[in-house]
């Protein structure tokens, strides 16, 4: 029972602050709500026994990406304080589009996802797994990143992508020579 209560609480925190993110007029408050939403997602990772990912979520999303977004908001702040309309003219259409997408996804998950009866029982509750496997999963993850049979190529590509993205970000944001004078 406590599991369900925890799940519902996490859902309310995550989805509620996500709605604040997309609807709040003040961008700075939206960014703070985004941090709460990220924390809620980290809570879901903990309920799914993925403690490492929860820690990575806290570090990367709340620690880095949110701060980057807040910096960007502050750098473009003059516009944020203007009492301008936060939504474009497609707002009504967007609500309909998002709702229709959700209904389609919910129908697929709830009704049309092909399931055999034994799989149904298997997915009805979190399968019990020995603690040794769950605790070893982070070590296994680390090994799989450098194992030639698993993800060494995507891992190296991801590191090159990060390097290229950061160099590109500095290059794009670098002030032009005439701006400095």
């Amino acid at each position: 029972m406590t599991e369900q209560i925890l799940f519902v609480l996490l859902t309310i925190i995550t989805l509620g602050s996500a709605i604040v993110v997309v609807t709040h007029r003040n961008l700075f408050h939206a960014a703070l709500a985004l941090m709460v939403s990220f924390a809620g997602v980290a809570g879901f990772y903990i309920t799914l026994d993925a403690g490492f990912l929860a820690a990575a979520q806290l570090l990367v999303y709340i620690g880095a990406i949110s701060i980057l977004i807040i910096f960007a908001i502050m750098m473009t702040r003059r516009l944020m304080q203007a009492t301008e309309q936060p939504f474009n003219s497609q707002r009504g259409l967007s609500i309909v589009g998002a709702l229709v997408s959700f209904v389609i996804l919910a129908l697929v998950i709830g009704r049309y996802w092909p399931r055999t009866p034994d799989l149904e029982i298997y997915l009805a509750s979190k399968p019990a797994v020995p603690d040794a496997i769950l605790q070893g999963s982070v070590a296994q993850l680390g090994v799989s990143f450098v194992s030639i049979d698993a993800y060494v190529i995507p891992f190296e590509v991801a590191s090159v992508l990060l390097l290229a993205a950061l160099v590109g970000a500095i290059l794009v944001a670098w002030p032009k020579a005439e701006d400095q004078s």
Binding site: E3, F7, T14, L15, A18, V21, V22, L27, A30, A31, L34, S37, V41, T47, L48, D49, A50, L53, A56, V60, Y61, I65, L68, I69, A72, T76, L79, E84, P86, F87, N88, Q90, S94, A98, F102, L105, A106, I109, G110, Y122, L123, A124, S125, K126, V129, I133, L134, S137, V138, L141, S144, A158, L161, L162, A165, L166, A169, I170, V172, A173
Partner: protein, 102 residues
């Protein structure tokens, strides 16, 4: 006991909230925040499927880490672009960035 579908419903809802943000917001930074919400929804799905279907192999976790990496790269480049655009055009409203129109 929590069925797998609960996690999938939450992830679908989070994804659609992000979708709405991308469609309806005018400010480019707000659009970027909505994209981050959508990436998080995908990650919840990946980790939930890992835990329920293949807990003995860390496939879902590995891909969740890759999504995290790409999200970080995307945020860095996106915000650099926004700052650059703001410096040049004094605006980050997506409707007004019509340099490549016509």
């Amino acid at each position: 006991m929590i069925p797998l579908s609960w996690y999938l419903f939450v992830a679908a809802a989070l994804f659609c909230i992000g979708l709405y943000g991308v469609f309806a917001r005018r400010n480019a930074i707000a659009i970027l925040m909505a994209v981050e919400l959508m990436l998080n929804a995908v990650n919840i799905n990946l980790v939930a499927f890992w835990r329920y279907m293949t807990p003995e192999r860390p496939v879902g976790m590995a891909w969740a880490v890759f999504v995290l990496t790409v999200a970080a790269a995307e945020a860095a480049v996106g915000l650099a672009l926004i700052i650059s655009v703001y410096r040049n055009r004094d605006s980050v409203v997506a409707d007004e960035l019509d340099l490549m129109k016509n």
